[in-house]
Symmetry: C2
Subunit: 304 residues, 2 copies
Amino acid sequence: MTISTNTFETHLREIAVETERLLSSLLEGEALAGEIARPRHLLAAMRHAVLNGGKRLRPFLVTSSAALFGGDGEAALRVGAALECLHCYSLVHDDLPAMDNDDMRRGQPTVHIAYDEATAILAGDSLLTYAFDIIVAPETALPDHAKTELVLALARAAGLGGMAGGQALDLAAENHRPDEAGIVTLQAMKTGALLRFACEAGAILSGASDTDRRQIRRFGEVTGRAFQIADDLLDLTADAATMGKATGKDAARGKATLASLKGQAWAEAELERLVSEAEALLAPYGARAAMLIEAARFVANRKS
Amino acid sequence: MTISTNTFETHLREIAVETERLLSSLLEGEALAGEIARPRHLLAAMRHAVLNGGKRLRPFLVTSSAALFGGDGEAALRVGAALECLHCYSLVHDDLPAMDNDDMRRGQPTVHIAYDEATAILAGDSLLTYAFDIIVAPETALPDHAKTELVLALARAAGLGGMAGGQALDLAAENHRPDEAGIVTLQAMKTGALLRFACEAGAILSGASDTDRRQIRRFGEVTGRAFQIADDLLDLTADAATMGKATGKDAARGKATLASLKGQAWAEAELERLVSEAEALLAPYGARAAMLIEAARFVANRKS
């Protein structure tokens, strides 16, 4: 079930390139059909938000899950691009002064710095809206029932009970520190829900069985937990290196994480445990699941 | 083809009551299915944004259009409620300090005043997301192809090429005054697109013919133009009464409107012309279209 790290990283980069190309074409004026003019300024802000050279981990999970279940590769790429638009909307809004107030992202000014706050709000709104457009557009070659299932699953992963709700809990956590269970819930919503959707989306668009969908959802949940703990660990250790003490950006903002509560050793052991759990969940699929398992390992071990 | 104003206003109020009841139930914690906790604070902000005693004109257009084409009344109410969530999201974001910076709406503090700015951003995001959830949810008894068509039409009415794009053009208009054609385009996007969608949605969910869809779309466009000119006129005359001179809030913000450019007499004549056009468009449907025609009259003549 193992493939080489090289094979995995090559494939991750290939999907990133294809996703970037598709996103760029989806965000050209011409591609946005409609009989009324489109504001160039807003479109430019959306491109700034999306075409940022990201790793495109979520699209990779969609396409790898679709490959496992025999789904159409082109449709998977489009669903991945839709998900990336939605992910990028959340970054634009999270970066706003009223939220996390971040000026830089990936070495570039954030959208409200490069443009202005009103444009950043509208660019986020438009990207969120466009994600649903891309999924149901005629160019996405999927049956209508798959499209409606994808829209429902994405709306639930992104809305009040998912990512947006998790961000609200995260902001509240600066004043009322949540306990361990509270942190787990918050993180499952804020970052876990979209990663789980990415995995499940591949199964939905492939018409996979309910059993397969449940299994890949659980894989997505486990991968999401690993993603978050790796993130917490990076925050803890990266800042420890630069600041010379064991406090990170999260701690500075008064945000407790599992890694900060339970320590670096616990976090490292938990990451190993989660990777094993991810492997066990996909064991029934044998070698065909190798790419997804590498993705879980990559998420757990990433250094940026 | 005429019905009494009383009949129309009674029906408008009935639909508003039913819509309000449905929205309240859709925005209860219990109704938002999902295995993870929902943040009460955010849900309360969403309720504040939506349950505000509005006229529910857009849901009324959806249900009246569905009635004309023989669509299911319950499904039409749900689509109307989804559209109202989306309309209310746009009001919450438009009211933000970075946008129109309004503290009050319908005699109540706006969401960022009653809660805070971050919560208002997230409440808007969540309402936008929830609109798509409601349309595709299993409880909305429509075939999958109608659901995907509704999602696509709504996403295009709301996104870069529609409402959000129109708001971007409107903000830009404060610095670069658009000419008459520019104002028409801006308003068709900012307020017209959702009103057109409301009319078209009734046809889509009823499985109406392409010819019927085109006709009701045009009716929606004409009604949208009447809505905007009536709005401009109210801004012009309401402020003229209170301020003792012929300048309104739009003028104070440096925003040109058709009514301010061409004068009150032109605007009043244009409203009459648009109502006649709306009547002519629905003449082929005879008495069954009476409620929609009254809606166009109401929009053109409204005093608030």
